[in-house]
């Protein structure tokens, strides 16, 4: 008889304990800011579709500076349709979402937010489960199915590698050339203004379709472009809050 009571007590205790632990955990994570927008500077990119001619230089510069396997593209230029007989292009880097599904789903926190909003990848931590790939609405993530040992065909014409090559078996993606941003800031340069502190794709763009800068600063070029144009973001309905803004193509402003 005593044993039965003991078991019941154990059950109750276990239930109370589990509830308390869950509540404590929930409270703690609500308290600790998981928000990506805590830093004073918030990096963002604006892409003007009236100016983009689909040359693909951004992709090439990206491949070289980030030393990417030619089978993978962090920054893909796609065709978005036609306006008044003119082709509209849509270059797609990683959106570096403020509410990134990839960060939430990663079982090992290999994807994480920086305070300045960049969604980072820890390539030494990634286990290659590919859940983030499945979760990303923008197909911005690529898995290293093969190891990349050959010389990078985009080097040296389009730039020099600035980051370590990723090993086989991990997922990789664009991170707004954080290495250029960080190095530039350390040198006292301004990202988005000085080329050496700005993502490679924005620097190389021959038509100036891509702009990078601090969204928190209303006087930055990015801030002005977003304010003075009708800017939209991809799949805003999903609530991911992307940091890449697009200015829709205006046939009047488009060339040829």
């Amino acid at each position: 008889m005593t044993k039965r009571i003991g078991r019941r007590d154990f059950l109750k205790l276990a239930a109370v304990g589990a509830t308390a632990a869950t509540a404590a955990r929930a409270l703690r994570s609500a308290e600790a800011s998981e928000n990506s927008s805590t830093g004073s500077r918030q990096w963002a990119m604006v892409i003007d579709q009236s100016k983009c001619v689909g040359c693909g230089y951004c992709t090439l510069a990206c491949q070289a500076h980030n030393d990417i396997n030619p089978e993978i593209q962090w920054n893909r230029v796609t065709t978005a349709g036609e306006v008044a007989g003119k082709t509209v292009f849509l270059p797609r880097p990683c959106m570096n979402c403020a509410k990134a599904p990839c960060v939430d789903v990663c079982p090992v926190k290999a994807s994480y937010y920086r305070a300045d909003g960049i969604v980072m990848m820890d390539y030494d931590r990634c286990i290659g489960c590919r859940y983030c790939e499945v979760a990303c609405p923008y197909q911005a993530r690529s898995f290293n199915w093969k190891s990349f040992d050959a010389p990078n065909p985009a080097v040296p014409e389009w730039g020099q590698p600035e980051v370590a090559r990723r090993p086989r078996g991990v997922v990789e993606k664009c991170a707004f050339c954080y290495q250029r941003v960080d190095r530039g800031l350390a040198l006292g340069l301004e990202p988005g203004v000085d080329a050496d502190a700005t993502p490679a794709c924005c620097v190389v763009c021959p038509t100036g379709a891509r702009t990078f800068g601090d969204l928190n600063d209303p006087d930055s070029q990015v801030g002005k472009l977003v304010k003075n144009n009708v800017a939209y973001r991809l799949r805003e309905d999903l609530g991911t809050a992307p940091r890449v803004y697009y200015i829709a193509a205006d046939p009047q402003k488009m060339e040829g």
């Binding site: 078991r7 154990f10 059950l11 276990a14 589990a18 955990r25 994570s29 998981e34 796609t78 978005a80 349709g81 849509l90 797609r92 599904p101 960060v103 939430d104 789903v105 990663c106 079982p107 090992v108 926190k109 290999a110 931590r125 990634c126 286990i127 290659g128 489960c129 590919r130 859940y131 790939e133 499945v134 979760a135 990303c136 609405p137 923008y138 197909q139 993530r141 690529s142 898995f143 290293n144 199915w145 093969k146 190891s147 090993p167 086989r168 078996g169 991990v170 997922v171 939209y232 991809l234 799949r235 999903l238 609530g239």
Partner: protein, 421 residues
């Protein structure tokens, strides 16, 4: 020459057991070779792509975990609800569960890009990730299963002879069974549901994005898990005298499976039917893959007709339920249905390539057929499970319904005399 042949022939006369072991060994060896290729050359030799990054291995992983659910269900029934007469069946289910979870581990090791970092989830916690939660629960539950199956391994004659002290300790831990059952129930309810949740939380994949994924995954796991345990026990009892089943217990549990199937079909019907009328882009296309596309045979025939409806009718009807052959058929069909559900769920979400370009209506479709390497390694994982179960039946008597733990023997209780209040 003829005399030589006569001398050799008796040695060549295989017993069924040897032939079975031989087949399994061949499958295992082939899988070892294929697995070596996967580890050394990388995952590009599979047919997985960035659009369909999860395929056959994930299905095997999900299915083995689902089909192991008999362990927690029956242990809870025996040790928590007090249905003590099912204890020998729970014993089989525990062993099946132990095999199933190790099978899941094996297929996951194949699937992840960096198997050398499998332990990262234990060290680097992301408590927002359902996959992290699943990993932790699976690891912890595997530990529970190891403890739960200790009395089974304690019955190994070889071990008993050499380490009598150890086996006595292992076997004498039965009093902890209720506590292990509580832990097993909690951990299993968590991860069996959240395996559905892994899919269910992804807003970018409308056919998955719904709360009932968790319910459907858990219900189907319980049904499939019990069915596999019953089916495996019945097959074993037909093939070897070492397996002894109590047909009454199997028949009662099959009746439970039948009613659980009724519940499952009810939820699944509304799941599909109601979703159809949301006309959500991506969801509609995903449903069409199931109802009329490349997955339609799986969906209508394997999942619905053979996997759920037919066994439900067979097990609800007294005549067929009591007939051992039809009961076996029905239980096997349930297992097929659960595996088909996992396969269909995974692919109906992944094959629909969702557009991110504004105004783009056209939905593209990806395709996926497992490569030979995936199939061979997958078969190897299954062969390992079959081998482990066969050895268990032969050497550990995992299917023996005469074995009842001492405290579960039905005691004649003296009913106290009733007194007027």
């Amino acid at each position: 020459m003829i005399r030589n042949l006569k001398r050799i022939l008796p040695a060549l006369r295989f017993s069924l057991w040897t032939a079975w072991l031989l087949i399994l060994s061949v499958l295992l060896l082939a899988a070892l070779a294929a697995g070596y290729l996967v580890f050394t050359r990388g995952l590009w030799i599979t047919n997985l792509t960035d659009l369909v990054p999860w395929g056959l291995w994930i299905t095997i992983d999900l299915s083995s975990i689902a089909l192991s659910a008999g362990a927690f269900t029956l242990c809870a029934a025996v040790y928590l609800i007090g249905l003590k007469r099912y204890q020998p069946v729970a014993r089989t289910a525990t062993f099946v569960g132990l095999i199933g979870y190790t099978m899941a581990m094996l297929s996951l090791l194949l699937d992840i890009g960096r198997p050398d970092r499998f332990w990262h989830a234990l060290v680097y916690w992301n408590d927002h990730s359902l996959l992290w939660e699943v990993t932790m629960c699976v690891m912890l539950y595997l530990t529970v299963l190891v403890f739960e199956s200790m009395p089974i391994f304690a019955s190994l004659g070889w071990l008993k002879k050499r380490f009598p002290g150890v086996t006595a300790k292992m076997g004498g831990r039965h009093q902890y069974a209720p506590y292990l059952a509580i832990a097993g129930l909690a951990l299993s309810m968590l991860h069996q549901s959240s395996l559905g949740g892994v899919y269910g939380v992804l807003k970018a994949r409308p056919i998955w994005f719904k709360p009932e994924m968790t319910v459907l995954f858990m219900l189907s796991a319980i049904i499939g898990g019990i069915s596999l345990t019953l089916f495996a026990s019945m097959v074993a009892s037909r093939l070897t005298p070492r397996a002894k089943v109590n047909d009454f217990l199997l028949e009662r549990l099959s009746h439970v499976v039948a009613w659980a199937l009724v519940g499952y079909l009810y939820f699944r019907f509304w799941d599909v039917f109601a979703q159809h009328y949301t006309f959500d882009p991506g969801r509609t296309e995903g449903l069409e893959l199931l109802t009329g596309g490349p997955l339609s045979f799986n969906f209508w025939i394997l999942e619905m007709l053979l996997g759920a409806l037919a066994p439900m009718v067979l097990l609800l009807t007294r005549v067929t339920r009591q007939n051992r052959f039809w009961r076996m058929v029905a239980l096997a069909l349930v297992v097929v249905g659960v595996v088909a559900y996992r396969w269909d769920t995974n692919l109906s979400g992944l094959l629909v390539v969702m557009p991110y370009i504004p105004g783009q209506q056209a939905v593209a479709y990806a395709s996926y057929t497992p490569s030979l390497i995936e199939a061979i390694t997958g078969l190897g994982v299954i062969a390992y499970g079959l081998l482990a179960f066969s050895l268990g039946v032969r050497y550990l008597s995992v299917v023996d319904h005469r074995l009842v733990a001492e405290e579960h023997r039905v005691a004649r209780e003296t009913v106290p005399e009733t007194v007027p209040a």
